[in-house]
């Protein structure tokens, strides 16, 4: 393998890993803010209990997001020097604005959000949480603007050396695909978090522990899901029609459409064979794609063969990734609607198979997000700036050995991190929204204990012990 292949693999892996955490934290930050506000306004302890619980998970995810994000901002220089040489005038300012308006805002208030409860007033805690949430949204906005510019470049011209110069900043930021991509991504994060909250609450309801708090959270999450699941599908549809207009070859790959066709069928499932330039084992529904893409029975849609095979993306990757994402969208919609039916019948909290279903949906949002980004990024190939700069020309003058070695390093390190995160977050999630001092009295932190081991909150009477509790270990 050469440096380009390693660099692509490394970028795909590190950015795919990074995006998991923003997906979790963008939505969760708003959920915590909402709980903090409810606690402030109503004074019901259940909201504080839930807020503390979800803040613990949020804190772990946030840390992972920060450290894996810093990697990305340097990788663009270390691995993609050709790209940063070419696009720095355009993307540099966008990244800088992201740092100034988003990262600093998050960093400036995260301490107060996580550790400041009790040190600042309740209202100030709501405010700090709100600032962190807003910062996360700003961050998404800038980074999606940068990515959308790479997908549908506008507002800048390349000179003879291939260096881009900006003519109009408004056009650079508000490119054709930006609003769709931003809305779809933010909605993806909220939807994913809805199902994470629903899944964890379902687990506690299923076990019959912390029932009151879990009911509240389960109900909130399913209301959110009911709104967001159809919204996400509608946004996806709009996004797809935008892609049809601006990146028709990517769309053809998503649909598995080889010939330019009037009134194309929807291919439910097939094996797109790139060598033969056709689908094998296809299962088609006539005219359906024409209906949802062009809103007419006989609309014309461009096929992959409009460009030479060398300029086509990897069709099976795009094709299947799209089906995974859209399939998950349907599953989530189905789950949310089932929840509504059960709620209307007053059986939402007792139906055990539904609690099981809710638990099973917990990871689906993340999988859909990864699949969605795979569609977007792999579908753009062989371009890194669509129609302007080829990925092969974007790479840095570094040796394949160095990139390969660091790729292995990232692979090992990130897997260990993931396991550790799952261990600790899983433990906290299993422990649930208790009001127990978390885990050891002598630990400082989110839990209402202080350094000298003096609990500043009375322990809940006959509260269950934490699994793997440190008291036993005598740490």
């Amino acid at each position: 393998m050469d440096a380009v292949a390693f660099a692509r693999l490394q970028f795909a892996f590190t950015v795919g890993f990074h995006i998991l955490w923003p997906t979790l934290t963008i939505g969760l930050a708003w959920f915590v803010t909402c709980l903090s506000a409810l606690w402030w306004r109503t004074g019901k302890p259940v909201y504080r209990q839930l807020m503390r619980f979800w803040m613990r998970i949020f804190a772990l995810g946030f840390g992972m997001g920060v450290v894996t994000g810093i990697v990305l901002s340097y990788e663009i220089g270390t691995n993609w020097a050709g790209f940063s040489r070419s696009a720095s005038n355009v993307l540099g300012p966008l990244f800088l604005y992201e740092t100034l308006t988003a990262f600093f805002l998050e960093a400036g208030f995260i301490g107060i959000m996580l550790f400041g409860e009790g040190r600042v007033s309740k209202g100030a805690h709501v405010f700090a949480s709100l600032m962190v949430s807003v910062g996360a949204l700003f961050s998404a906005t800038w980074i999606i603007a940068a990515n959308s510019w790479m997908q549908t470049p506008a507002g800048a011209v390349a000179d003879a050396d291939g260096i881009f110069h900006v003519v109009n900043w408004w056009d650079v930021v508000f490119t054709a695909s930006f609003p769709y991509r931003l809305a779809h991504m933010v909605c993806a994060s909220f939807l994913t978090v809805s199902f994470v909250v629903a899944g964890v609450s379902a687990f506690h309801l299923w076990r019959g522990r912390q029932v009151k708090a879990s009911r509240t959270a389960f109900s909130m999450a399913l209301w959110m899901a009911l709104v967001l699941a159809p919204t996400q599908i509608a946004l996806g549809d709009l996004h797809g029609r935008n892609t049809l207009e601006h990146q028709p070859i990517k769309l053809a790959a998503m649909e598995g459409l080889w010939e330019t066709t009037k009134g194309p069928a929807m291919t439910l499932i097939a094996w797109p064979d790139m060598a033969a330039q056709k689908n094998l084992y296809a299962l088609d529904i006539p005219h359906l794609a024409s209906l949802y893409l062009t809103h007419s029975w006989d609309g014309e849609v461009e096929g992959l063969k409009a460009v030479p095979p060398a300029d086509q993306p990897n069709v099976p990757v795009v094709f299947f990734a799209f089906r995974i994402m859209a399939g998950i969208g349907m599953v989530l919609l189905g789950t949310a609607m089932t929840g509504l039916v059960l709620r209307l019948r007053h059986r939402l909290f007792e139906t055990r198979w539904f609690l099981g279903l809710a638990m099973a949906t917990t990871p689906l949002g993340f999988i859909a997000v990864i699949a969605g980004w795979t569609v977007t990024e792999a579908g753009r190939q062989p371009w890194v700036i669509y129609g302007q700069l080829r990925t092969a020309d974007a790479v840095a003058p570094v040796s394949a050995g160095a990139v390969g070695a660091s790729l292995i390093g990232f692979f090992l390190l990130y897997n260990v991190l993931m396991l550790t995160f799952l261990w600790f977050a899983g433990r906290a999630a299993i422990a649930g929204p208790t009001d127990l001092p978390m885990p050891v009295e002598t630990h400082p932190g989110l839990d209402g204990t202080n350094m000298s081991g003096r609990a500043t909150l009375p322990p809940a009477p006959n509260a269950p012990a934490l699994p793997g509790a440190p008291h036993a270990a005598g740490a």
């Binding site: 894996t68 810093i70 220089g77 040190r119 550790t420 989110l446």
Partner: protein
């Protein structure tokens, strides 16, 4: 004013870049320093306080590293796409190290049986990050091979003895800032430990400052020419002299001076070292290859970011200061408490 700034736009952005680096080094220096000292602390309880003292602020400190990187990309792209590939291995290693120490904050808190693993990750990550930054620094002073406007060396061309010396110096320097921070933020036995270790750190940093300055003056002719040519030697003489004075003042005040003194003087010492570095490297973004004037981004890009920098940066500095203010005072008695007693528990404040 505006006309002056536009006429000297390269200088303005160079100053901003230096500002970001200084703030990063001083701010993250204090929490890297606490990490470097972490395993040296005698008791587990000390480690708890040490980590708690930087927990609310480390993320903000580290964000200056991102700010520096993105400012380089936006204002001096040549610096970004030549230097980052040139220092590929130390940068990636530093990122690994920062990941390890970053996640240790969350995980150590939750860990029970294997806390020592996170102690190790935190301390090891901090030391390794400082070492890598030193390697990059040394490589910068030594110069970077460039051809056709791109980096033209191999994966190991960053390696130099100077880099290693800088690395050791940075470890000592960060440890000194960290010790100063701990004297300020802790009390009792932790504070005594911090005062003791501050001496060792000070000796290390003073020796390494001397060695690095001497070595680069001997081996890099451009640096020697900068410092020892005629008007310069007189104009620049205050830098080493003030540095010496600060070192003496530090040495004499660690036990007897006020609790803020070591921290403040350590910051001054570091700032002086950075001034020396700027003097040695000026006016290059990529040493001896690309100057600040050649490496500058498009004017329309600079105008666009000027607005943000002028308006947002002061706000950012204000609320970062505010975050320090909220968590002022001794860490020991207050951390995480919901009903922290006021007054008595806040004997010292930071600003």
């Amino acid at each position: 004013m505006i006309a002056f700034l536009t006429a000297h736009i390269a200088l303005v952005f160079a100053a901003l870049a230096v500002f970001c680096v200084v703030v990063y080094v001083l701010a993250d220096g204090l929490d890297l320093g606490v990490g470097i000292l972490f395993l040296a602390a005698p008791r587990d309880a000390d480690r708890d306080v040490m980590m708690a003292s930087i927990e609310p602020v480390w993320d903000g400190n580290e964000t200056w590293l991102v700010a520096g990187g993105t400012l380089l990309l936006a204002a001096f792209p040549a610096g970004y796409y030549i230097l980052l590939p040139a220092f590929y291995l130390p940068i990636v290693t530093m990122l690994f190290a920062l990941i390890l120490r970053g996640v240790a904050f969350g995980f150590r808190l939750q860990a029970t049986r294997f806390r020592f693993v996170w102690d190790l990750a935190f301390a090891g990550g901090s030391i390794l990050a400082a070492l890598c930054q030193g390697l990059i620094l040394g490589g910068l002073i030594d110069g970077v091979p460039v051809a056709d406007g791109m980096f033209a060396g191999g994966p190991f061309s960053f390696l130099s003895l100077l880099g290693l010396l800088c690395g050791i110096g940075l470890i000592g320097g960060y440890a000194l800032i960290g010790a100063g921070w701990l004297i300020l933020k802790t009390e009792g036995r932790t504070q005594i430990f911090a005062r003791e270790i501050a001496h060792a750190a000070l000796i290390l940093v003073a020796v390494m400052m001397l060695v690095v300055s001497g070595w680069s003056a001997l081996t890099v002719p451009e640096v020697a020419a900068r410092w020892f040519s005629l008007p310069n030697i007189v104009l620049l003489a205050p830098v080493p002299l003030v540095t010496l004075a600060v070192i003496v003042a530090l040495w004499r005040g660690i036990w007897t001076g006020g609790e803020k003194r070591t921290f403040a003087l350590a910051l001054v010492l570091f700032a002086l070292g950075l001034i020396g570095l700027v003097v040695s490297l000026w006016p290059y973004v990529v040493p001896r290859a690309v100057t600040v004037w050649d490496g500058l981004a498009d004017p329309q890009s600079l105008t666009f970011i000027s607005f943000g920098l002028a308006v947002v940066l002061p706000v950012v500095l204000a609320y970062q200061a505010h975050a320090y203010w909220v968590f002022r005072g001794k860490t020991l008695t207050e951390h995480g408490a919901y009903d922290a007693p006021d007054g008595a528990a806040r004997p010292e404040s930071l600003s």
